[in-house]
Assembly symmetry: C2
Amino acid sequence: QIITLTNASQKGGVGKTTVALNLAFALAQRGWRTLIVDTDPQGALGLSLTPRVSAARGLVDCLLDGAAPLEVVIQTRVSQLAILPLGKLSIDRLVAYEEAVQDGRLYEVLTQLEGRYDLAILDTAAGFGATTVGALCAASYLITPVQAEPVALRSLPQLLDWIGWLRERGAPVELLGVVISMLQEEDPHSRRVAEELWERFPRELILEPPVPRDPAFLHATAAGVPVGLLSRTPPEVARVFDQLALSVEARVRLQ
Amino acid sequence: QIITLTNASQKGGVGKTTVALNLAFALAQRGWRTLIVDTDPQGALGLSLTPRVSAARGLVDCLLDGAAPLEVVIQTRVSQLAILPLGKLSIDRLVAYEEAVQDGRLYEVLTQLEGRYDLAILDTAAGFGATTVGALCAASYLITPVQAEPVALRSLPQLLDWIGWLRERGAPVELLGVVISMLQEEDPHSRRVAEELWERFPRELILEPPVPRDPAFLHATAAGVPVGLLSRTPPEVARVFDQLALSVEARVRLQ
Ligand SMILES: Nc1ncnc2c1ncn2[C@@H]1O[C@H](COP(=O)(O)OP(=O)(O)OP(=O)(O)O)[C@@H](O)[C@H]1O
Ligand SMILES: Nc1ncnc2c1ncn2[C@@H]1O[C@H](COP(=O)(O)OP(=O)(O)OP(=O)(O)O)[C@@H](O)[C@H]1O
Ligand SMILES: [Mg+2]
Ligand SMILES: [Mg+2]
């Protein structure tokens, strides 16, 4: 039974794709067979990796053209990590894609991969549009990155409302936790956001440690890799994701 | 005839709301009667300003409950600057709101304000969902903030495709220009993005100057004001928006 973790947030640019990719890499390194799935119509995962991923077939081909998921999953050079990219999504097919994700077909695609992966990490588009709602309905757990900046904290209540609304309608998704993202220790306004999260939430809902704002992420996206693959000795910040992987393991029933 | 500028981007968190708010403030200070309109279902403008704005009635009341725009527009303490907030948008009304924005009613709301404003600056949700497409169809011009980071640059072609697609279908929206956002001069990957924009686009499509990444923006959102109102002597970065206002004036037919 694949455990599905969906990365979502109302606020844009908080690090959903960055956290999804780097957490998936860290979990794969811990030995879990991990599949990272791009549901974002902008093909976010491809944009953070390489043109090969952006050009590849993917979820769109499964949902709209009957492709078998196993035909389009990309095995990365990290043995336990595979990618199901978005695939090519033209503007004319956007509505069809959104409808397919919303009416449960995403869940069917994941079921066709049962037994091959322990974890599926879903990246989503900002906001609660059709594709994000669909990705939440297909999920066991939600992880939400909260950027350590005032505006991002203020939009967090909306996400919590959405979870309540979805659960009332039978979606089994559970909040696994908040990832504090882009924390700037030297900026009192950034630090204050982290402090408020620690004050207002039960500790088990704030995944540790926070991810600091770090130039390594721009370097990694420029190179098209997770931070853990940036160089022979990974940068300090890669270990943050190793620790986040442990936090995630402790909370999901991974065998 | 109100000139409508819509701030949009596929990529999230690139500074749409920050640029919309601070550019509107700078234009108002130049003497233009400026209305900033929040079309983003997350009520982004309210989140960057004060709880009073978040709690106020707004566009939702006009589109769904027949409120007259003049009843809900908020006059700010800056005489030439007014705000049309999103208003309260419950999850149950999201679809109705999206449909109203898409079927031309947003344009009607703006027409009811003719003669009262020179400029309307529309803030939008990330991506090209229903509300953003609606806000683009109601626009004379599009301004797109491009965050000076590799991923944001890579998603820019999608925005250009969308403009082409909309114009083919009769939307009169024209790209006024790119605002380079959150530029970090000391980071080669950030600088490289700005250089590529300068290389690949005609100079008239890149609004000058770029907006640097600056702690003043976190301070301003914490205080619920545009950067120009942060203190008695505005911070250095407020002048960037004064210059951007001049760049905008030069390109739109403002009388
Ligand atoms: N900890 C960090 N330090 C510095 N930069 C970061 C960090 N995390 C992410 N970034 C950068 O911030 C930008 C936004 O990150 P990302 O694209 O992952 O956010 P997102 O929430 O997926 O955005 P969207 O809403 O468009 O899906 C990217 O340029 C990314 O490389
Ligand atoms: N030049 C800047 N320097 C530093 N921080 C900035 C700058 N511009 C914006 N920010 C901050 O970056 C974050 C994202 O900005 P903003 O909310 O304006 O982006 P957005 O594109 O409107 O996001 P969304 O996709 O959620 O609508 C906010 O915390 C904002 O205060
Ligand atoms: Mg993303
Ligand atoms: Mg915004």
